[in-house]
């Protein structure tokens, strides 16, 4: 999963308190931490959460036993940090499911024919990030790891410390809720805000 970069020696040195080795880890993995925090918390919280993750990593790296990949351990700390931040916020109610089914209109440009060659517009990216923020934290965590980080359910269950079945249920609920939210937004922007 993630990086194939072999950090064993660097991780070992960092766990001995070697700041230079730790700096290498930060440079190598800062994108992973920031990317996950951004998707979990949006623009507003990603930066602070990333700082917090690295403080936690420095404090606890001597507990890293190498039983799993370093990236798995880092995902775990990042997710825990983001979920802790979210826990402090109020839980949102379940979205109202209307009589008509959520329908997402055809995507612009050549998305459907060649998604790999396409980049998301700033507007579309913001829309997705805002919609993700509306999901329940545990559903969002599973959805982000599954569909954005493209991890297996086994890896997700390891990171979130839950059974694989729960990881699947959370991702499934997250997917359904995200579709409802996005379809609702699409309706509103088409002037069909029922």
């Amino acid at each position: 999963m993630g990086q194939s970069f072999n950090n064993e020696d660097i991780v070992h040195s960092a766990s001995q308190g070697n700041a230079r080795a730790f700096s290498e880890l930060v440079r190598e993995h800062s994108t992973l931490v920031y990317r996950v925090a951004l998707r979990m918390l949006g623009d507003g919280g990603a930066q602070d959460a990333s700082q917090e993750v690295w403080v936690r990593v420095w404090r606890s790296i001597n507990n890293f036993r190498g039983d799993s990949a370093f990236s798995t351990w880092l995902y775990k700390i990042t997710m825990n940090t983001c979920l802790n931040i979210r826990e402090k916020e109020l839980r949102r109610e379940r979205w109202e499911l209307r009589e008509d089914l959520p329908y997402l209109p055809q995507l612009d440009g050549n998305f459907e024919s060649n998604p790999e060659a396409t980049t998301l517009s700033r507007e579309r990216k913001d829309e997705l990030l805002v919609a993700l923020q509306q999901l329940r934290p545990e559903h969002r965590a599973s959805l982000v790891l599954r569909h954005l980080e493209e991890l297996s359910y086994r890896e997700i269950s390891e990171i979130l410390e839950i059974p694989e079945g729960t990881a699947k249920v959370w991702a499934s609920r997250g997917r359904a809720a995200l579709l409802v939210i996005l379809a609702g937004e699409a309706d509103e922007s088409n002037g069909d805000g029922r």
Partner: protein
Amino acid sequence: MTWEATEKRWEALEKIGAYAAGELDGEEAREAELLLMEDEDYPRLVESYTRMLVLLSVMGQESPEAPKSVVNNAIRRAYVAAFLRGAEDFVGGLGRSYAGAFVYYLGLRPKEA
């Protein structure tokens, strides 16, 4: 909609989502295919899910760099912490050496066998 009807809709929505994501196989996939035939709007739901999954996949391929301030701050903290740890060890070691010398000076160290 009644509570039961709403729950049933969510269940169908989730099952069709899992089907669109290619996460069902065998019996579960067949059940989802039967479900798709129950409502003429369900195939459109599969299309909607597919579109959303494409969006997520494209977003997943983008990897925004962490701001430099985050990286620099994490590194600076580590260097400061390592320096303080080193200074603590040094002062501790120095103190122990002085204490050892003092014990020796006073002749309090037990004789070795």
